[in-house]
């Protein structure tokens, strides 16, 4: 078997090293999977920002789309859609989000809820001109 052939070519230290590196890789997956917490909630409708609020303050908001009013709730640093006029309620089923880059979408009502991080200076030049 291929695995035993590989194992035969390894000393005990090789195996220990590979095992440690494998564990480190697993740890890296876990650590990176978490990601940084977001700072602001931004709601977009057809590419335009229609609502923006800090994640830290608990509140709820009513957003109006083509189908009607969608209710958005911010609680304990998490955002979720609590009620929506759309037929399948997929957006409510997406649960709550808190991390930077995560999003909730209600396609029928044309709403996109995004989490953004802290404001940062954008690099003014691109990769090639560096």
């Amino acid at each position: 078997m291929a695995v035993t052939a590989v194992l035969r070519r390894m000393t005990w230290l090789d195996r220990v090293i590979v095992l440690i590196l494998l564990l480190a890789t697993g740890a890296a997956f876990v650590l990176v999977g978490k990601g940084p917490r977001g700072a602001r909630v931004v709601v977009e409708q057809q590419g335009r920002v229609v609502f923006s609020a800090p994640l830290a303050v608990d509140r709820s908001a009513t957003l109006t789309g083509p189908l009607g009013e969608t209710l958005l709730a911010i609680r304990d640093g998490h955002v979720c859609i609590t009620s929506s006029p759309c037929p399948h309620k997929v957006c409510i089923g997406m649960g709550h989000i808190a991390r930077q880059g995560e999003l909730l979408a209600c396609v029928p009502n044309e709403l996109l809820v995004l989490i953004e991080g802290e404001e940062k200076e954008e690099p003014t030049h691109d990769l090639i001109s560096r």
Binding site: R9, L13, I17, L21, R130
Partner: protein
């Protein structure tokens, strides 16, 4: 190998030089071949050239490994045509980190560590070094680190594969006539 008229010390030296030149040439060829292969991201490389660095390390020691790596990156980049470009910088820093880790591991653990372990360490070092320089010089975006675990896993796989390849090559070379007087190799 009946060259009794030549000073044996000099014979060993010349042989060593010729084999190092061969290793470097092969490493350059593999470096170039790898550049031609399509890859999903610039740093997902198979690292075949590292096989020759490993072989040099195990046959001739750390200095030989450095020679093969640095010459490979320099000449390989000339051949490929990306000398001093971002891609070159990535190769160079990856290569330097990998070789530093491999020579350190070899001198630390000596006979206990085999080509597979050294190669796995080198591949992971290569991955970390490349990503670090990519982050420092090219894309200062935290999203880059999202890539790191995948990169690490990939590097570990190729590292083990390259280590096995290097071990096979070492077996082949050690049974060759030029390596028969085993006394002249630093262990």
């Amino acid at each position: 190998m009946t060259s009794s008229a030549v000073d044996p010390q000099q014979l060993v030296r010349v042989r060593r030089r010729i084999f190092l030149a061969l290793f470097t040439a092969l490493a350059v060829a593999l470096h170039t071949l790898e550049f031609l292969l399509p890859s999903p991201a610039p740093w997902f490389r198979l690292g075949f050239a590292n096989i020759l660095t490993l072989t040099a390390l195990f046959l001739y020691g750390g200095r030989a490994a450095w020679v093969v790596t640095l010459a490979r990156v320099g000449i390989g980049s000339l051949v490929v045509g990306n000398l001093f470009s971002p891609g070159f910088l990535l190769s160079l820093c990856g290569g330097v980190t990998a070789t530093a880790m491999m020579t350190a591991a070899r001198s630390l653990f000596g006979r206990h560590i085999g080509p597979v372990g050294v190669s796995a360490l080198g591949a992971v070092g290569h991955a970390a070094g490349q990503l670090l320089i990519a982050w420092l010089v090219l894309v200062r975006h935290p999203g880059l680190w999202q890539l790191f675990p995948f990169f690490l896993l990939f590097a570990l796989g190729t590292g083990i594969a390259n280590g096995v390849a290097a071990d096979l090559l070492l077996d082949l070379l050690r049974s060759h006539a030029a390596f028969q007087p085993a006394a002249d190799e630093p262990k």
